[in-house]
């Protein structure tokens, strides 16, 4: 099994993800420049966080035209696993792989803090090992993470079980827990089949207890879920 971490100009969480996958999860992982990415060589791909193309125009809007997104669209059709983290999620949305839009936080500030997430669906490649209702303690760090969609399309997301993560308080309630003004507290969504997932929080920053302030390894469950999903 081999995973690709796709590097765009401005990616800055690529090596963090590679460290987690290689050294904590134990999967062969390759860093691939976005123009050289050939999906047939890999079982899964991760689009890491960062500021691709300086977030010019809109976060993810320019990277969305990279040839790597054609490969990702093929992966979507073939049922292969793709995870977009933060800027990676923004790229997937801008490329139309995932629906909706990620706009500037309603507080108009870059928000960098630890949040609680509730897992709303366990069928996806990023949540297969986490029961529905399970809570994860994971940090966010973004300026443009406010998820927006039309009412009809939001309804479809619920009907099709495409809402994967929501921002909640410590009790798991959607009260005083929305860090960016996201519609219905949405932190992450998936495609119809559940093989492609995008989320704003950074699971790779909550994977190794000794190097984070809360000793959390909740993020590791996301990567282990990917492995489990691919193997079954």
């Amino acid at each position: 099994m081999k995973l690709a971490v796709i590097q765009y100009p401005g990616s800055n969480c690529d090596y963090d993800v590679i460290h987690v996958l290689r050294n904590l999860v134990g999967i062969e992982t390759e860093l691939v420049w976005h123009r050289n990415f050939n999906q047939s060589e890999f079982d899964a791909a991760i689009l890491p966080g960062g500021f691709s193309y300086g977030d010019y125009l809109r976060a993810g809007a320019i990277a969305a035209h990279s040839p790597s997104l054609n490969e990702v669209k093929e992966m979507s059709q073939e049922g292969k696993v793709v995870l977009g983290i933060c800027n990676g999620f923004q790229i997937l949305v801008e490329a139309g792989v995932l629906p909706g839009a990620l706009l500037r936080n309603d507080c108009l500030r870059f928000v960098c803090k630890w949040v609680n997430l509730r897992v709303c669906s366990s069928r996806t490649s990023a949540t297969k090992l986490i029961p529905e209702g399970g809570l994860l303690h994971i940090p966010i760090a973004h300026s443009e993470g406010r998820y927006v969609n039309k009412n009809n399309d939001l309804k479809k997301l619920y009907e099709n079980d495409q809402i994967v993560f929501k921002y909640v308080n410590e009790k798991g309630e959607e009260i005083n827990s929305n860090p960016n003004g996201s519609l219905d507290n949405i932190a992450g969504i998936c495609n119809l089949d559940g093989n492609i997932v995008g989320l704003m929080p950074h699971p790779e920053r909550a994977s190794e207890p000794s190097i984070n302030p809360y000793g959390s390894d909740d993020g590791l469950l996301v990567f282990e879920s990917m492995l489990n999903y691919i193997n079954h």
């Binding site: 125009l57 809007a61 969305a64 035209h65 706009l103 009412n151």
Partner: protein, 91 residues
């Protein structure tokens, strides 16, 4: 035969109502309104792009930029509205 010349095509991208406009609302509420400009009713923020386009008519220039905005997803139609205007030597 009409000769091609340069036109200025301006593009304004604004958030649709469903996407709100926290920047425009904050400028209005915290700066304009608090400074006593009572006649100002609202402020909208957006993104502005200016293209110099070489075509035969301003209509062609506008159409080219409109198509480009759709093709390259210069705006996200789910949450943004687009205004395109062309000026220069009108034919």
């Amino acid at each position: 035969m009409t000769k091609a010349c340069d036109y200025v095509v301006e593009v304004i991208i604004e958030n649709k109502k469903l996407a709100k406009d926290p920047e425009g609302e904050t400028i209005y509420r915290e700066l304009v309104n608090k400074s006593g400009y009572d006649q100002i009713q609202s402020v909208r923020s957006g993104k502005y792009l200016r293209f110099i386009v070489n075509t035969k008519t301003s209509k062609d220039a506008k159409k080219l930029v409109q198509d480009l905005c759709n093709d390259l997803r210069i705006y996200n139609p789910v949450v943004h509205s687009l205004q395109v205007t062309a000026r220069g030597n009108s034919q």
